[in-house]
C-alpha cells in the first residue's frame, strides 16, 4: 500500500492515543485515502466527530476539524452544512456515540437526507470508558455493564438508517481497508445522507472479555464472516447466518436538504 498523504495528517500530533490492535487507525487511514481520491480541495473538507475513541481521529487530520459533544456530531454538522453548503463534511462517530446518545440526531439526519458522510466506527463496545455494552453490541456478548452477556438486541444500523430515509448505506471493515476506502469514496460522491458502517476490532475492551483472541484473530474473523452484497444475493438464509453483508447495501436518488433549502430561497449552491 502506498504512503498516506502527509498533507492530510497532523504528524506532530502522532503517535495516536489508540491501544495496540485497535482498528481506528486503519479506518482513519482509509478515510484519508478516500478523501485524496475524491479530489476535494483540502480547504473545503471538514472532519466533525463526536466523543469516544474513534472520534479522536479528528485531531490527527489536517483539515478544519470539529470535535464536538457526545452524540451530537451530526447536529453540529447539520448547522455547519446549512451555513456553508459548499463544504464537504465527514462525520466520524463510534457505535455508542451514534446509535445510543446520538440516535435521535442520526435518524433525523437520515430523514432530512442532508449531504453529510457519516462514518460509524463500530467496535461493538464503549471503548474509552472501559468496555460497556452499546446498542450495537450483539446479544449475549459480555461487557463490564453486562458481565453475564447483554440481553438487549443490537440495532442493524444500516437498516435503521434506510428506514429513516438515508439514501446511501454501506458496510466495510478494518480487515478489508481497500474496500472500505472505496465505500467512503462512493459515500462522499453521493449527494444526500450517506452512512458507512466500518466494523473495527477492539481487542482490549471487547475481544478480551469475549474471548475473541488477538487483534489478528478478530480481523481474520471479520474477514471470514464478511460476504459481499453481490455474492449474498445467491445465498440462502442458512448460509448467511452469522455472516455480515459488505459493500453498498443501498444507493437511492432523493432531494438533498441543503440544496433544496437554498433552491427554495432562490440561491444556487452549485
Amino acid at each position: 500500500m502506498e504512503q498516506l498523504t502527509q498533507d492530510f495528517l497532523r504528524t506532530k500530533k502522532l503517535p495516536h492515543i489508540w491501544c495496540p490492535g485497535c482498528g481506528n487507525g486503519i479506518v482513519t487511514a482509509a478515510l484519508v485515502r478516500a478523501i485524496e481520491r475524491t479530489g476535494f480541495d483540502q480547504k473545503d473538507v471538514v472532519i466533525v466527530s463526536g466523543i469516544g475513541c474513534s472520534s479522536r481521529a479528528a485531531g490527527y487530520l489536517n483539515f478544519n476539524t470539529l470535535h464536538t459533544t457526545h452524540g451530537r456530531a451530526l447536529s453540529f454538522a447539520t448547522g455547519l452544512k446549512m451555513a456553508r453548503p459548499e463544504l464537504k463534511l465527514f462525520v466520524i462517530m463510534g457505535d455508542g456515540d451514534c446509535s445510543a446518545i446520538g440516535g435521535n440526531h442520526f435518524i433525523h439526519s437520515a430523514r432530512r437526507n442532508i449531504d453529510l458522510n457519516a462514518i460509524i466506527v463500530n467496535n461493538h463496545i464503549y471503548g474509552m470508558t472501559g468496555g460497556q455494552h452499546s446498542p450495537l453490541t450483539p446479544a449475549g456478548k459480555k461487557a463490564t455493564t453486562a458481565p453475564r452477556g447483554t440481553l438487549e438486541r443490537a440495532f442493524d444500523l444500516l437498516e435503521l438508517a434506510r428506514g429513516a430515509g438515508a439514501t446511501f448505506g454501506a458496510r466495510g471493515n478494518a480487515a478489508q481497508p481497500r474496500q472500505l476506502e472505496q465505500l467512503i469514496v462512493r459515500a462522499a460522491r453521493h449527494r444526500g445522507f450517506s452512512v458507512v458502517e466500518a466494523l473495527s476490532p477492539c481487542p482490549i475492551a471487547y475481544g478480551r472479555r469475549n474471548k475473541l483472541g488477538s487483534a489478528v484473530d478478530m480481523l481474520r474473523d471479520m474477514k471470514e464472516r464478511s460476504v459481499s452484497v453481490e455474492r449474498a444475493a445467491d445465498m440462502d438464509e442458512a448460509e448467511l447466518e452469522e455472516r455480515t453483508l459488505n459493500g453498498v447495501l443501498y444507493s437511492i436518488e432523493a432531494p438533498e436538504f441543503a440544496e433544496a433549502y437554498y433552491q427554495s430561497i432562490g440561491k444556487d449552491i452549485g
Partner: protein, 375 residues
C-alpha cells in the same frame, strides 16, 4: 440620524427583529412555550433575506446546529424556555469552552420541571449563571420592555461576536408576550461579514496574547475545535499550566470588557434611603413605585434596574449600598439574585428580599408597601 419608525410588537418578535438587524442569518430551534414566536418570526423572515431557518429534532440539536453554523461564519440565534434551556446546557458549555459566538433567548416560564408553561417567572437566574458544568463565564441580559428586548438582543449579538462568547437574553413570559411600541431606525444596518479577510499571518484560534477573531471553517486555516482543554492552536492538552491558562483566558475577556458588558440604569432620588434593585418585568412595577414616591412625593427612593445580571454588577451595588440604608430586591422567584446583592452590599445596607412565586407579577402595591415599611 436616520428616521425612526415606531412599530408595535411583542417582546419575542422584538428579539427576532433585533437579531436580524444585528446580522443574524441562522436560526435553529425547537418549539416551546412561551418562546415559540421567536422561531415563527425567524421562519418567516430568514428565507426572505437569504438566511437559514431550521427546526431541529430537539433542543440539544438546536444548540449544536447553532454552534456549527457559527463556526461556518454565520451570526446565529436560538430561543427556548426553562425545560429546553436545561437541555441546551451541555452544548452551551461547549460554545463557552471553544469560544464560539451565539445568542440564546430564554423566555422564562414558571418551573421547576414542566411547571406552569404559560405563567411568568424569573426562576432561571441561577440556571443562566451556573446551568452548565464547570467554572465558566457567562453574559446574561434581562430586558424590562419590548424596546429593551430589541436593543439588548442587538447588543447580545455584537458582544457575542466581539468576545467569542455565548450571550443569553433572559426574557420572562410577560416581556415575551406583551406588545409595546419600539422605535426602529429606518435604513439598513451594516454588518461586516465574517471571512478570512485581514487574518494576520500568525493567527492562532486561541492566541495566548488575547482575543483573536474567529476565522470560519473553509478558508484554509486548518485548526481544531474541541470542548477539551486546548492549547492556543486548539489541540487537546492535559498540561496543568496550559489548563489553568486556558480557563483564565475565557474568564479574563469578560473582566477586560466589563464596562461594555455591564448595563444598568438608575432613576430616583440622588441619595436614596430606600433603593430597589430589580430586573426583567419586575422593573416595570418598581418604576411605577418610584414615579409616585420620588417624582410626585419627593421621597428618598430610587431604582437600580439591571439590564445585565451576569456578570453581576458588583461595583454598582457596592456604590448603591454606600448611599442607601435599605435595598429591596423584588424577584418572581424564591430569592435568587438577592444573594448576590447582599454579597456586594457588604453589610453597608440592609438587603430585603421581596418574592412572589405564584405565577403572577409582583405589583406596585406590594413594592410600595415594602418601601413604606423602611422609610
Amino acid at each position: 440620524m436616520p428616521e425612526a419608525k415606531p412599530v408595535l410588537m411583542q417582546g419575542n418578535e422584538a428579539c427576532a427583529v433585533g437579531a436580524i438587524n444585528a446580522g443574524v442569518r441562522f436560526y435553529a430551534g425547537y418549539p416551546i412555550t412561551p418562546s415559540t414566536e421567536v422561531a415563527e418570526q425567524m421562519a418567516a423572515m430568514l428565507p426572505e433575506i437569504g438566511g437559514v431557518f431550521i427546526q431541529m429534532e430537539d433542543e440539544i440539536a438546536s444548540m449544536a446546529a447553532v454552534i456549527g453554523a457559527s463556526i461556518g461564519g454565520m451570526r446565529t440565534l436560538t430561543a427556548t424556555s426553562g425545560p429546553g434551556f436545561s437541555l441546551k446546557q451541555e452544548n452551551l458549555g461547549y460554545a463557552i469552552m471553544a469560544e464560539i459566538p451565539c445568542v440564546v433567548i430564554n423566555v422564562q416560564r414558571m418551573g421547576p420541571s414542566t411547571g406552569v408553561p404559560t405563567a411568568p417567572a424569573q426562576g432561571d437566574v441561577m440556571q443562566a449563571r451556573w446551568g452548565t458544568h464547570g467554572d465558566h463565564p457567562i453574559i446574561v441580559f434581562s430586558p424590562a420592555s419590548v424596546y429593551e428586548s430589541y436593543y439588548l438582543t442587538i447588543a447580545a449579538v455584537n458582544l457575542s461576536q466581539k468576545l467569542r462568547q455565548p450571550v443569553i437574553v433572559l426574557l420572562d413570559e410577560v416581556i415575551g408576550h406583551m406588545r409595546e411600541k419600539v422605535l426602529i431606525p429606518e435604513g439598513k444596518l451594516m454588518v461586516e461579514k465574517t471571512s478570512d479577510k485581514q487574518v494576520p499571518h500568525d493567527w492562532k484560534p486561541y492566541d495566548d496574547k488575547g482575543l483573536t477573531p474567529l476565522v470560519p471553517f473553509g478558508f484554509g486555516h486548518y485548526y481544531h475545535v474541541t470542548g477539551l482543554f486546548h492549547d492556543q492552536y486548539g489541540f487537546p492538552t492535559g498540561d496543568p499550566m496550559q489548563v489553568e491558562r486556558a480557563l483564565d483566558r475565557i474568564h479574563e475577556k469578560l473582566v477586560k470588557y466589563r464596562d461594555e458588558i455591564i448595563l444598568t440604569n438608575y432613576i430616583g432620588h440622588k441619595e436614596p434611603r430606600v433603593a430597589i434593585v430589580t430586573y426583567g418585568c419586575t422593573v416595570r412595577s418598581a418604576r411605577a413605585v418610584v414615579k409616585k414616591a420620588y417624582w410626585q412625593n419627593r421621597l428618598p427612593v430610587g431604582l437600580l434596574s439591571l439590564q445585565t445580571i451576569w456578570p453581576f454588577p458588583e461595583k454598582e451595588i457596592e456604590a448603591l449600598a454606600k448611599q442607601a440604608d435599605v435595598i429591596i430586591v423584588p424577584e418572581m422567584n424564591m430569592g435568587q439574585l438577592v444573594g448576590e446583592v447582599e454579597r456586594f452590599a457588604r453589610g453597608e445596607a440592609k438587603v430585603v428580599p421581596l418574592n412572589r412565586y405564584d405565577g403572577e407579577m409582583i405589583n406596585p402595591d406590594q413594592i410600595s408597601e415594602e418601601v413604606g415599611r423602611w422609610l
